[in-house]
Symmetry: C2
Subunit: 167 residues, 2 copies
């Protein structure tokens, strides 16, 4: 699943990019949420159904769903076997909400704190740079709403029946 490393000095120095990479749980989480958003107002979806339509391992989906539930984003309609549904309107759920179900905080460098302000007393030009970038990313994820994603997906599902997720 992983591509070849690229080295300078024949070894070391430059590795395959694994940082600045979104984790799979967040990706899967978003896809799961899109699926549930498309069912918004419907009968609810079973883990099995989500697993099959999304091509995510049933067992692995356990963890995804657990995190989404723990974060209060989804819930069982009524007891088991009734399926899951969103707790809020997809319009009111941002991608950042979903991200936060899988990561404590988005910090592209460690010495930035929650609100995007730096903890260091001393001045550091690069810190300012990364801090700004961090803010931009979070702002984007907060601006993107689940509804938009579900709408796009639904539209395209109608246009070409049988389309498949790949991410």
């Amino acid at each position: 699943m992983h591509s070849k490393r690229i080295y300078f000095y024949t070894t070391n120095t430059i590795g395959k990019v694994d940082k600045m990479k979104l984790n799979t749980k967040t990706r899967y989480g978003v896809r799961t949420m899109i699926e549930l958003a498309m069912d918004w107002g419907g009968k609810g979806l079973l883990q099995k159904e989500i697993s099959e339509s999304q091509g995510i391992s049933y067992k692995y989906l356990d963890h995804i769903i657990s995190a989404l539930k723990a974060r209060g984003l989804i819930v069982n309609v009524e007891g088991k076997k009734s399926g899951y549904r969103l707790t809020r309107n997809p319009e009111e759920i941002t991608v950042y909400d979903i991200y936060k179900a899988f990561e404590p905080e988005l910090l592209i460098v460690d010495c930035l704190v929650h609100d995007g302000k730096c903890t260091n007393e001393r001045y550091c030009a690069s810190n300012e740079l990364w801090c700004e970038l961090n803010t931009i990313i979070v702002k984007y994820l907060k601006s993107y709403r689940l509804k938009e994603l579900a709408d796009k997906q639904m539209q395209m599902n109608m246009d070409s029946a049988g389309s498949v997720y790949v991410i």
Copy 2:
């Protein structure tokens, strides 16, 4: 150096954030480049000097410098012991240029290609989302020039002598 894991289900599911993180080499690379930018038009800086002023291990800096050289961003002024200097005006070097010295490409998810277009034939709403975010990040890094960083750093170094980098 690493903070505690946070678990749901008591184990697994959520790990310490290691994704969506800038790698240290890029961070060090930027700091190295700031240092050289502040010396722009000067006598050149030795690896030892950069190592000391930045608090980066001399040996580790080997790899940083190697990558920057391989990328053509820096060069020895003339032979050894003459010090390194930038090959271009800091005004013409973007942070993305530096990033590219350490990572083949910035791709927050694997199924995006260089120009920000998706490789998949099938439509995928989340792909579009990540693709846009990727573009935003790259755009920001391309817009930020080394000169700005060096200027800020120089200004603050003058304001408070003896300031120290932390990132």
